[in-house]
Amino acid sequence: MDTNKLIGVGAFLIAVFVIVPVLIAASGRWDFYYTLTSVALLAIASAGVWLTFYIGRINIGQGAYALAGGYVSAILMTKAGFSFWITLPLAGLFCAGLSVLIGLPILRLRGVYFAMVTLVLTEVARLSALALPVTNGAKGITSIPLPGELSVFGLTLIPDFATLQNPKLAFYFAAVILMVVCYAALYRIVNSRLGHLCRSLQQNEELSASIGVNTAYLRVLAYSISSFFGGIAGAMFVAISQSIYPSSFQVADSVNFMLNCFLGGLGYVFGPMLGTLMLYFGWDLLFTTGRFQLLIYSSLLILLMLVLPNGVLSLFERKGGRK
């Protein structure tokens, strides 16, 4: 069992760090790097949403934190001259802090009520970005410099992206490494006591409280970790596109983050990663169907949820899961 897992993780790492670059170099489809980088970053944001699912809350507001994280990074880089690599964790921390303030009142809500409020959050974030002077309104923030050098004691850990021949490849590696780290952390959370308590919360909050779990604290903690993921994903996105607008992350993105989790499987840590990959490519592949794209896409999603309510990964469930 454990060796199987190790082999799986090893195979995954070789695939993303060796096979994908080799294939892309061979085929010359350099644009694929951008696509895969996006998938990696969206998967990070989806991982956050998945964690809120894990405490029994439907989160359709991750776009708000991605947007906030993006703006924090952009503003710190352009106005305060911070290095991108410092703004990345700061964006995450800002979002985590923000989500504590927002989460304290709204996490008392359950079910569809929480979902509705989070849905509104993305729109609130967009309107705030339009209205606030520091975000430069609808014109957004543009010509953000590429990530600079990161060195510790004179040792260069990450070279200046602007000097690289192929920044696309560098972004790909940065995004995938970030994704791997985030999922490793998520996996550890889920399999440590924190995860067990989150599950207890998901299944019965009253009983959780009666065994001495501080449910309010735990909910906010899980939500802030979730928002941290959203924030760093947003910040990284901004670094790649070198610009951010109030419309960079919209309600549709928030909904997609949630769908990624549903599609991949709410019971599996790596569900949101697979879900993101499938949804992103699924949408692109249907491009050839022209005006029927959305119709076919939505029908397929509905069908998938009907046939596989526990997500695509439930196909690989060993026990068969028969009731």
Partner: protein
Amino acid sequence: MTPILQVKGVTKRFGGLTANNDITFDVAEREILSVIGPNGAGKSTLFKLIASFLKTTSGEVLFKGQRISNLAPHKVARMGVVRTFQETTIFRSMTVRENIIVAHHLRSRASLLGFFIGTKQARYDEAEFGSSADEIIEFLGMGAIRSELASNLPQGHLRALGMAIGLATNPTVLLLDEPFAGMNHDETMRMVSLVRRLRDERGVTVLLVEHDMPAVMKISDRIVVINFGEKIAEGTPAEIQANEKVIEAYLGSEDAAIGM
């Protein structure tokens, strides 16, 4: 002997409805005390007030002399007053053993971050929870179903699991909400001896709400009777059985008047 739990003039109103009115009684250490009363008498409300799942309108509940009413429920549990639930409330998609392990939360000394990193203390705690869970499983005779998913369990086992979850928190006072409901005679008798052993072997003070009169009479050291939200009697099972007011409450005075 000072009482371990004191209920002092507890009143709870929901709008115009008074669910509990000025209820006062004490629970001694290592006592099994039952709260009985007809349907809708306010027993469950009283339980929720003691475990602080509801806020009192007036009055207070003291545990070892400290006020526990109107605190957050998890704080009351942390102090040692733990409630089980009337409905078969369990963590449905966990196995029996997982349910019990999770319920050990109060005993963990490592922080959540410690568990995340896997510090020495955290690993020690994990091992401790595991062996303690196994011990509880043994105690309740649930060995055969330890790896069964809780949602697949029949009623009787669910009730036992609910009690196991309560036990895992290492309570000083355990509040059992209708532990015998929906059980047949044999199951009830098994549960009665289990509750006794809880007190005798583990020193737990037990407060229970129950409908099953024969079981209550058998198990209780003392009984508190409430009707229409008010305490109408308190005493040993024999005293309660002979109490006029209690008989009236259960049979109804009108019925008694026409000779039933």
